[in-house]
């Protein structure tokens, strides 16, 4: 049985379609990523799956339970970390954790093993109010509270938004460890580089999945001719390549530009010498493998 099964879910807010006939499945123990920008429908999907909102059309089950009729049972079995910090700011670290344990009829001691890794760095601040914690610490506390009743499915809505690259890396290591304990994890993120850390991903845009597959499959099915280009004057290079015959698209990617080439006769060496003739120096042109971000941009066109 699938841990999560979603069948043609739709939801609108007034005249805006937030979700349009979304369907997907998540297997038990899988780390499933929902990748897309703000406003794509990620939070709406989480709210429906955690029984906080009712879909207009379609059905969904979590652990085989219906999100509309079996909501009470689902709430016992899932953990949810919303995008906005939703713990009690005026309660201490320790009070928050035991409060959530009590709500679910359990104790911190009973399930301490599960949160130990994540909660340990917080132990020394346990008498501090949650509102006074730093960003990284709040995030660890929120995750501990979402886990303290030992859920079998964990929903994390943009846990790494606004978080610096080092803390993001740490967070994903925590998720890998949780996955090893058999918990099914659904996580959303606007950071495309995090996609490769998931078992499978759904690329979401304007309320619809453009593609659901493993990150490797998505990268593997990228069909365009993709090159990286660099020179000593990047903004001039961008302007020139945008108008270049035989080049379909040109976008900045860190210290290079990624271009897709429609002219199959064009060779990297040829483009390099054309650019050099046009006055560019330190020119580099070479084929590269697509990243998830390249794939997203192509699919979104």
């Amino acid at each position: 049985m699938a841990a999560i099964s979603v069948n043609k879910i739709s939801k609108s807010y007034r005249n805006i379609r937030a979700l349009q006939e979304i369907s997907f499945e998540v297997k038990p123990g899988e780390l499933f990523g929902i990748i897309g920008p703000d406003g794509a429908g990620k939070t709406t999907l989480f709210r429906i799956l955690t029984t906080l909102m009712v879909p207009e059309e379609g059905t969904a089950t979590v652990n085989g339970l219906d999100v509309v009729t079996d909501y009470k049972e689902i709430r016992k079995q899932v953990g949810y970390m919303p995008g906005r910090f939703s713990l009690y700011q005026d309660m201490t670290v320790e009070e928050n954790l035991s409060f959530f344990a009590t709500l679910f009829g359990t104790t911190v001691r009973e399930n301490y093993d599960l949160v130990k890794d994540i909660y340990q760095p917080l132990e020394k601040f346990k008498t501090r109010r949650a509102g006074k914690l730093s960003g990284g610490m709040k995030q660890k506390l929120a995750l501990s509270c979402a886990l303290i009743h030992k859920p079998s499915v964990l929903f994390l809505d943009e846990p790494t938004t606004g978080v610096d690259p080092v803390s993001r890396k740490d967070f994903w290591e925590m998720l890998r460890r949780l996955k090893k304990q058999g918990i099914t994890i659904v996580v959303s993120t606007p950071y495309m580089d995090e996609a490769v850390l998931c078992d499978r991903i759904g690329l979401i845009r304007e309320g619809e999945f453009m593609r659901i597959a493993t990150p490797q499959e998505i990268i593997g099915s990228y069909q365009e001719i993709l090159w990286a280009v660099r020179s000593s004057k990047m903004s001039a290079l961008l302007a020139e390549l945008r108008t270049f015959e035989g080049i379909k698209s040109c976008f900045s990617f860190g210290d290079t530009l990624h271009i897709t080439v429609s002219n199959e006769q064009l060779l990297p060496a040829t483009l390099k010498s054309i650019l050099e003739n046009n006055g560019h120096t330190d020119v580099d042109v070479y084929p590269i493998q697509a990243t998830i971000e390249d794939c997203y941009m192509l699919l979104a066109k």
């Binding site: 920008p37 760095p121 080092v166 803390s167 606007p190 495309m192």
Partner: protein, 246 residues
């Protein structure tokens, strides 16, 4: 030098016995795109608040757009633009009303505002959205509009605090193209971001660790200095030396 638009000397901010910003000294020049990086809690926001005239330094000095950040903070505020991801425009006002409001706040007259509004909407290809409520614009559009509004009064410097968080990949890049245009016009862009590919787009980058500036150079030189291939690795290298508990 005329060309320097931001200059700090041993700029420090303490809260009780906690030193949020610890003797930072640096200069930013006209038209420069300056990336201001650091881990959460490294002191970026506090430093930026001082530079915008919103927080008085405990010690040290700073000038922004030629004005002293301690003694002339009101003049600083008039000569800068500011935009963040968290707050930019009024959701319940129409596109033109937001522009009108900000133009008025910065002391432009009706005629200037009307002319500049037309030009702005044209450049962004937003003419058809003139009467749209900001809340019904897609996020990426909002951010582009917010940036244009932040530089509507032609400030010498614009401060951007994580302007592209959560924005889709294409719009994020279009946003940076707007940044480049502003920089070409001579506006200095002071920007924070958690996207390390965006750090590569800056002319120079500083990285704060535990309240101090631990590195400051062009992305190219920083990568060379640390012997790594991208800014992400430069960042990991430095941020991992942090002792301050986040």
């Amino acid at each position: 030098m005329d060309n320097i638009v931001i200059e700090t000397d041993l700029l420090t901010k303490r809260f009780g016995n906690f030193t949020a910003v610890d003797q930072i000294s640096f200069q930013v020049t006209k038209g420069e795109i300056f990336g201001f990086l650091g881990a959460n809690g490294a002191g970026k926001t506090t430093a930026m608040r001082m530079l915008c005239g919103l927080s008085i330094p405990t010690s040290g000095t700073g000038t922004v757009a030629g004005y002293d950040i301690t003694k002339q903070s009101e003049m600083v505020k008039r000569n800068i633009g500011y935009m963040s991801q968290k707050f930019s425009l009024y959701e319940d006002l129409k596109v033109w009303e937001n522009i009108r409001l900000y133009g008025g706040i910065y002391g432009l007259n009706e005629k200037e505002i009307a002319e500049k509004t037309d030009r702005l909407l044209q450049t962004l290809q937003f003419e058809s959205e003139r009467n749209t409520m900001v809340k019904s614009l897609p996020l990426g559009w909002k951010q582009k509009l917010a940036f244009s509004v932040a530089i509507f009064h032609e400030p010498k410097i614009v401060f951007l605090d994580e302007p592209t968080g959560g924005v889709d990949p294409v719009t994020r890049r279009q946003f940076w193209e707007l940044i480049y245009e502003a920089s070409d016009r001579g506006i200095t862009v002071f920007v924070t971001t958690h996207y390390m590919d965006e750090a590569e787009y800056c002319h120079r980058v500083s990285i704060m660790v535990d309240g101090r500036i631990e590195a400051l150079d062009s992305p190219k030189n920083l990568k060379q200095q640390y012997g790594v291939k991208n800014m992400q690795e430069v960042f990991y290298h430095l941020a991992q030396t942090a002792k301050r508990g986040d």
